[in-house]
């Protein structure tokens, strides 16, 4: 899916992005195909802005955490034994 049209004011592209625009493109690039102009502008900003490079890393960590969060078992988030027994009984009735 292409990125939002420039004319709908979602993203306004300029030759030099500010950090706020970079942050949008950085996130948008994970969910859509950025245009060539956007990718170039983003890469250029990435090259020269230390803070945005750190932002980009942090966003990658967040996406990585999403892939692991369900695998992590949690004592505080378990189906209770009562609920399990109730569900088993209902299933056996089927």
């Amino acid at each position: 899916m292409e990125e939002p049209d420039k004319n709908n004011s979602a993203i306004s592209l300029k030759s030099f992005l500010c950090c706020q625009e970079y942050s949008k493109l950085c996130c948008l690039g994970k969910d859509s195909n950025l245009s060539l102009a956007s990718r170039i502008a983003k890469s250029f900003h990435h090259l020269f802005c230390f803070t945005c490079r750190r932002f980009s890393k942090q966003i990658n960590v967040i996406d990585g955490a999403c892939k692991k969060v369900l695998e992590k078992e949690s004592e505080s988030c378990k189906l209770s034994e009562d609920a399990k027994n109730r569900i088993k009984s209902l299933m056996k009735e089927e």
């Binding site: 706020q20 967040i62 955490a65 988030c77 189906l79 569900i87 299933m91 089927e94």
Partner: protein
């Protein structure tokens, strides 16, 4: 009820062989019960509602077990049924609030991050270890989960569909009947809020 029945039928191939060896309620509950419950709580936050939907998922899947073809794992099949039930619920409850999220910058958390020139208003802290090492730390994952649970319900629902269920933007638009711009803005705000929460609470 009919809608739920249709959602289940959508996921079940026709003329499939019966599950063998694994089709006992005890096995299903012990193998997938906690996982499905965690999945539902992550999306809904409300444990009681999550429990109801997990129950509904097990019962309706078990009822239709003869139609399970085995092209995917039982776990994937059950998650798909549960996900459809959650989407159905979220769509009814949140559609209006999804539609109101259409401007990238119209969010106080985002505005506070940048000055008038669009430059970061404060230095971003290092989170310490390499990304791989960070994701291995259970304290970091606990903090991440806590931040995820603090996202507003409409943001969290879409964020989970995209990043945990790995649905495409097009699929989310179709399932929730919202525009791609709505989805992009919701995902942007979600990531910005999660980053802000982790920045404030995670000490490397």
């Amino acid at each position: 009820m009919n809608l739920q029945k249709n959602l289940i039928q959508d996921e079940i191939p026709e003329k499939s062989p019966k599950l063998s060896g694994i089709d006992t309620p005890d096995k299903w509950l012990s193998d997938y019960g906690d996982y499905l419950f965690r999945y539902a709580v992550l999306q809904l936050k409300d444990k009681s509602l999550a429990e109801d939907l997990v129950q509904d998922t097990f019962v309706s899947a078990y009822k239709a077990r003869d139609q399970f073809q085995g092209k995917s794992s039982v776990k994937t099949w059950l998650v798909t049924i549960l996900r459809n039930k959650i989407i159905d619920l979220v769509r009814k409850k949140q559609r209006v609030s999804f539609l109101s999220v259409e401007n990238f910058d119209d969010d106080p958390v985002i505005r506070n991050n940048f000055n008038g020139a669009g430059i970061w208003s404060k230095w971003l802290n290092s989170w310490g270890s390499s990304p791989e090492a960070l994701l291995e730390q259970s304290q970091f994952m606990d903090q991440f989960q806590s931040c995820l649970s603090k996202l507003p319900e409409n943001l969290r629902a879409v964020f989970v569909m995209r990043n945990i269920d790995e649905l495409s933007t097009e699929e989310i638009c179709e399932k929730l009947d919202i525009s791609s711009n709505n989805v992009w803005v919701i995902l942007y705000r979600s990531r910005m809020r999660l980053r802000e929460c982790l920045e404030a609470n995670w000490k490397s």
